[in-house]
């Protein structure tokens, strides 16, 4: 029986119709393409009247297939499939031709655009003729969620879900949750004490009956898909038994070593080989760092073990691999600080009194290495003048093109702290002052009033090569003051570098593990930059906080809560329907060679020893097609991407290239067609 196909060409306002002659494309398709019984163009196909038109046509013209030529299927495939379904047509008997992103947005040549649109419509029509009805596959949603990263964003997401009654695994790489916020002293713009607002959240997360806290742990492997991911987690050996440790800290006190703390104290302070990173750590269980431990490096010591009152030290502890099934995953892995030694003219690492922003955060913190005193590297001298350099590694195409967004505000915060805690003058060297959130501009005004000095210019260099008596023994900031057009040299005692926020070192790796993508800078890519900022292209994987891009604490918290709300929505549905675009193996053709078994990147193929054949586990298959191409017996077929469908699509797209394709596409001979074969 011949199919009855409807073709609908969208104007998308002037987005498409401004370049492509949409009326001509519709008329041509209606007059020429085989089995097309209705062909129309319309201003906005995705509008409710556009959808209604399709629904009515399906009923009135007994359409058996539908093609819409419009935007990307990423945007509206679901819309039109729903319209088909509403009219009683299986939604997979629909095909979309992308004539906007693939044509009208990328050319100004109207003639060529119109002809290419015809080709794409011909391709879609030939393909849709071979579509087979499919049913989406139901998957039960496991109510447990994995949150990766225990900074403020991850803590927020975990608490929201746990409070809603759902189980959460909160996975953190460091010995304690808290993230960067735990390192800060004050938070802009309100200057509330960071620990005071953060630590209640941390302990709540640590004690919540619905939260399983896994610190000092890393995500090893992820398989499965939305509703039923399988995750493997490496719980690194702490050499301390969590069931016995009471967090008394005697082991730490007795340990005879001293190690520079590059993580929590940003290199400014020291810790022991067995340590709890900070007083309010959650959990309050030490970890033993084998790289510096005397027992592990030289075979003798074990002082911590001798003094532990509960016998919790276990020198033989091994890493553990834990496996869980979770329904959804939220990534909240945050940011890392730009390596300031990469800009040699700022002298970090060479000139002792040049500090990074994180070092300065620790310096201001009353619980930090200097007890909250702002002093030079010698640990005692108070600076007389402090320079704060903005945009270090940000807004610079040699390092990171983007603006880190929060460092202008952090610089103002530092200005306030210097003025409050010392008698020093403080200078900000900025290119543009970016203070665009609630209360931020007001904070800038406050600092103007407090007497912070502002010089508009990107610092050229920081040097200790003095040129005058005044500069002797000090650091000199050389800059063009762009408001006066003069080169200036300003002697100071301390320089603070506002380093860029960068993606975590392992962001790309993690993205690959869960099957999402990163921007070229390395931030996780959201599903839609405006309308879907916490979902990703992989169903069931969400992002929150700075791992998606630099942002402040309020925005990180908002995203954490938003991601949790999205997950809660999926959990409450209980069942999600996944695309039936999966592979299936024809057992009568399968020779049992097992080539496909190891090739499947999602471990979705199992081997039946008894029958001697391979089988696809539909719930794990992502329809990538690897096995289909590899099978030497051609025993594997892919739903919706079958060979015949793809070849027909190609022949349709290349209808003007061969007489056979011409005949197959149009069902008529060349001489009977009204064709203008083009030479574009």
């Amino acid at each position: 029986m011949a199919e009855r196909i409807g073709v609908y060409v969208c104007h998308c306002g002037s987005n498409i119709a401004g370049i492509i002659d949409v009326e001509e494309v519709a008329r041509w398709a209606g007059g020429n393409l085989q089995d097309v019984v209705v062909a129309k163009d319309y201003k906005f196909m995705c509008s409710s009247s556009g959808q209604q038109m399709i629904e009515e046509d399906i009923k009135n013209h007994q359409l058996t297939r539908v093609v819409v030529a419009a935007c990307s299927p990423q945007l509206h495939e679901r819309t039109f499939r729903r319209a088909c379904k509403n009219a009683g047509l299986n939604p997979y008997l629909f095909q979309m031709a992308n004539i906007r992103e693939h044509i009208s947005w990328v050319t100004t040549d109207k003639k060529a655009a119109t002809e290419k649109a015809k080709s794409l419509v011909a391709a879609a029509v030939r393909r849709v003729r071979l579509h087979r009805p499919l049913e989406p596959l139901p998957v039960e949603v496991n109510p447990r969620t994995l949150v990766v990263g225990g900074g403020i964003a991850g803590i927020q997401a975990a608490l929201e879900l746990a409070d809603a009654g759902y189980p959460v695994i909160l996975l953190e790489r460091e010995p304690s949750i808290g993230g960067h916020m735990a390192q800060f002293d004050k938070t802009f713009p309100t200057l509330d004490c960071s620990a005071c607002i953060l630590t209640p959240r941390m302990s709540e997360a640590g004690q919540h009956p619905n939260i399983t806290l896994l610190t000092y742990s890393e995500l090893e492997e992820v398989s499965g898909s939305v509703g039923h991911f399988k995750v493997k987690i490496r719980k690194r050996a702490r050499y301390v038994r969590e069931d016995r440790c009471t967090g008394c800290g005697i082991c730490v006190e007795k340990c005879p070593t001293k190690v520079r703390d590059d993580v929590f104290e940003a290199g400014l302070g020291v810790r022991k080989s067995i340590y709890i990173p900070f007083a309010q750590a959650v959990p309050r269980i030490p970890v033993l760092d084998t790289e510096h431990c005397i027992y592990f490096t030289r075979g003798k010591c074990q002082i911590c073990g001798k003094f532990c009152p509960t016998d919790a030290i276990d020198y033989d502890q091994k890493d553990q691999i834990l496996e869980y099934e979770v329904g959804n995953i939220i990534l909240a892995t945050g940011w890392k600080m730009f390596d300031c030694t990469r800009i040699p003219q700022y002298g970090y690492g060479r000139l002792p009194n040049v500090f990074t922003a994180m070092e300065f955060e620790r310096m201001c913190n009353a619980a930090g290495p200097t007890g909250g005193k702002i002093v030079l590297r010698d640990g005692k001298t108070e600076p007389r003048r402090v320079a704060i350099i903005h945009c270090v590694g940000s807004r610079d195409v040699n390092y990171n093109e983007y603006c880190s967004g929060i460092c202008c505000m952090a610089a103002l915060k530092y200005g306030h702290l210097v003025l409050e805690k010392t008698n020093a003058e403080v200078y900000s060297f900025y290119i543009d002052m970016r203070t665009n959130q609630k209360g931020y501009e007001e904070f800038y005004q406050r600092l103007l009033e407090e007497g912070m000095k502002f010089i508009r210019g990107k610092v050229a260099e920081v040097t200790n090569a003095d040129r005058s008596e005044e500069e002797k023994g000090r650091l000199v900031v050389q800059v063009e003051d762009t408001l006066t057009g003069r080169q200036r040299r300003i002697p100071v005692d301390m320089v603070i570098l506002m380093g860029a926020l960068e993606p975590q070192e392992d962001a790309m790796d993690l993205a690959r593990k869960v099957g999402i993508s990163c921007s070229s800078a390395g931030w996780f890519t959201e599903r839609h930059p405006k309308l879907d900022p916490v979902a990703t292209m992989t169903d069931g994987v969400f992002v929150a906080g700075c791992c998606q891009g630099p942002k402040d604490i309020p925005a990180s918290v908002a995203q954490g809560a938003a991601a949790a709300a999205r997950v809660a929505g999926l959990i409450s549905r209980r069942t999600v329907w996944i695309e039936p675009v999966v592979a299936s193996i024809d057992e009568s053709k399968c020779s049992g060679c097992r080539i496909c078994n190891n090739l499947c990147p999602f471990n979705a193929i199992e081997y039946d020893e008894q029958e001697g054949v391979s089988r696809v586990i539909t719930a794990l298959c992502k329809g990538c097609g690897t096995c289909i191409a590899a099978c030497p017996a051609k025993a594997i077929a892919g739903n919706h991407f079958a060979d015949d469908q793809i070849l027909a699509e190609l022949e349709g797209a290349l209808w003007d290239a061969s007489p056979e394709a011409l005949l197959a596409t149009f069902g008529k001979k060349e001489e009977q067609l009204e064709l203008k074969v083009l030479n574009v």
Partner: protein
């Protein structure tokens, strides 16, 4: 390739862009002042490169081409390596030197004359000849000042940093052919 004319822009901006490889980066200048702050001659310039770029954008042809900025540049490329927008600053200053000579606005500077003397020796000997260069430059341009430079010249001769006679490089013909080709290309573009 000629960068598409910027809509509504003065022809001056477009000329500078077209005459400089990667000149279109000029449009990315964020006026940060990294160039002016880095320049060893910054304090002696009428305007820092940053300010010059602002004036180019504003179409101030006369003011830019008669500035001393381009002539103060010693081609150290400090500014270019540090510019956060990868603007070929030093090369743009070369463009401005050429435009300024062509427009007859290179006043109050000896640099164009010195450059001409330099080119004369490279054309004829394949390399610079310091003694001749200085003599020729001063005789043609400021014979009186030559007397003042005498002692420095003698010291340089004594230390072997300058020689009495120009030496011709080997295969001068080949170099001349290369220069000839470069001139042809330069005129074409």
């Amino acid at each position: 390739m000629v960068h598409a004319a910027i809509r509504g822009e003065t022809s001056f901006l477009n000329e500078v862009i077209e005459e400089t490889p990667h000149g279109e980066r000029l449009l990315h200048c964020i006026q940060c002042g990294s160039c002016g702050g880095s320049c060893p001659n910054g304090p002696d310039m009428d305007y820092s490169p940053r300010a010059i770029f602002g004036m180019i954008q504003a179409g101030e042809r006369e003011r830019v081409l008669s500035a001393n900025t381009q002539w103060m540049c010693v081609s150290c490329y400090y500014c270019t390596t540090r510019c956060p927008q990868q603007i070929p600053i030093t090369d743009i200053l070369y463009t401005l030197k050429r435009m300024s000579v062509r427009a007859g606005l290179a006043k109050g500077t000896d640099a164009p004359a010195l450059a001409k003397s330099f080119v004369h020796y490279v054309d004829n000997y394949g390399r610079a000849f310091e003694l001749g260069l200085a003599t020729r430059f001063y005789l043609l341009n400021k014979p009186l000042a030559m007397v003042k430079m005498g002692p420095l010249g003698l010291k340089m001769l004594a230390h072997g940093r300058m020689s009495f006679l120009p030496t011709r490089i080997k295969n001068l013909k080949q170099l001349q052919a290369i220069i000839q080709k470069a001139r042809e290309l330069g005129e074409k573009s």
